[in-house]
């Protein structure tokens, strides 16, 4: 399941729903991305995530489908927020449930790596020097490429 929303999410609620009633799940791996208060040595007061409504949902669904094709998952979840967020706030949740932990780990790692380079979101950081659009990082490209 994928969701794009402005509101925060509750991890325990989301993961309980993911595994509810399915007793073939042996493990759930999840990753939560949080807003940091520093970027390249500069203080970040807050950040705003812009996205491309419609395409975002489409891409997240494609990424999730790809993970389910590559690994034997019982359930998977991507929640990505947009809008303004302050340091410490949750930005994104990806989670994969599988009978065995290896698949859960790999698929979850894959989801966030692909999402980082394929989901149409853009970060605007509020720094002391003003608002600045974040540049894409080569390390994210490399991380995504390792799943090719």
């Amino acid at each position: 399941m994928i969701r794009v929303q402005k509101e925060d999410f509750d991890l325990a609620t989301e993961l309980s729903a993911l595994s509810a009633g399915n007793h073939n799940i042996g493990g759930i791996t999840s990753f939560v991305g949080l807003v940091r208060d520093m970027a390249e040595g500069q203080h970040v007061g807050a950040m705003t995530l812009e996205h491309y409504p419609g395409m975002t949902e489409k891409m997240l669904e494609q990424i999730e489908a790809e993970a389910n094709q590559r690994w034997p998952l019982e359930a998977s979840l991507i929640i990505h927020r947009y809008g303004r967020m302050e340091p410490g706030e949750q930005i994104v949740l990806v989670a994969c449930a599988s009978p065995h932990r290896e698949a859960a780990f790999e698929a979850c790692h894959f989801l966030i790596d692909w999402l980082k380079t394929k989901a149409p979101f853009w970060k605007l950081e509020e720094k002391d020097s003003g608002a600045e659009w974040v540049d894409a990082r080569e390390s994210d490209e490399d991380a995504a490429a390792k799943w090719d």
């Binding site: 491309y52 994104v92 149409p120 853009w122 659009w133």
Partner: protein, 83 residues
């Protein structure tokens, strides 16, 4: 043809969304970009370095040689930075 701009491309062009009717000679994304650039210094600036511009047609990533037609939704934006 519907055009969308995101992040700093929206900032440079000054608009987030517009409907345009490019000449019939415009048949692919590269041609569209060339035509859009003729429409003012903001557009010229936004498309000045195509290495940092990505495009989507009907909400799918495409290369510059992808075809475009009057009923397409074309979006331009920098490399994504979510997650």
């Amino acid at each position: 043809m519907k055009i969308l701009y995101f992040a700093w491309m929206r900032g440079k062009t000054g608009i987030g969304e517009e409907d345009v009717s490019p000449p019939e000679t415009v048949t692919d994304v590269a041609g569209l970009v060339a035509w859009l650039k003729t429409r003012g210094p903001g557009f010229e600036d936004a498309f000045s370095d195509m290495k940092v511009v990505r495009a989507a047609v009907n909400q799918e990533f495409v290369e510059l040689d992808a075809t475009v037609g009057p009923n397409d939704e074309v979006a331009f934006f920098p490399p994504v930075t979510g997650g």
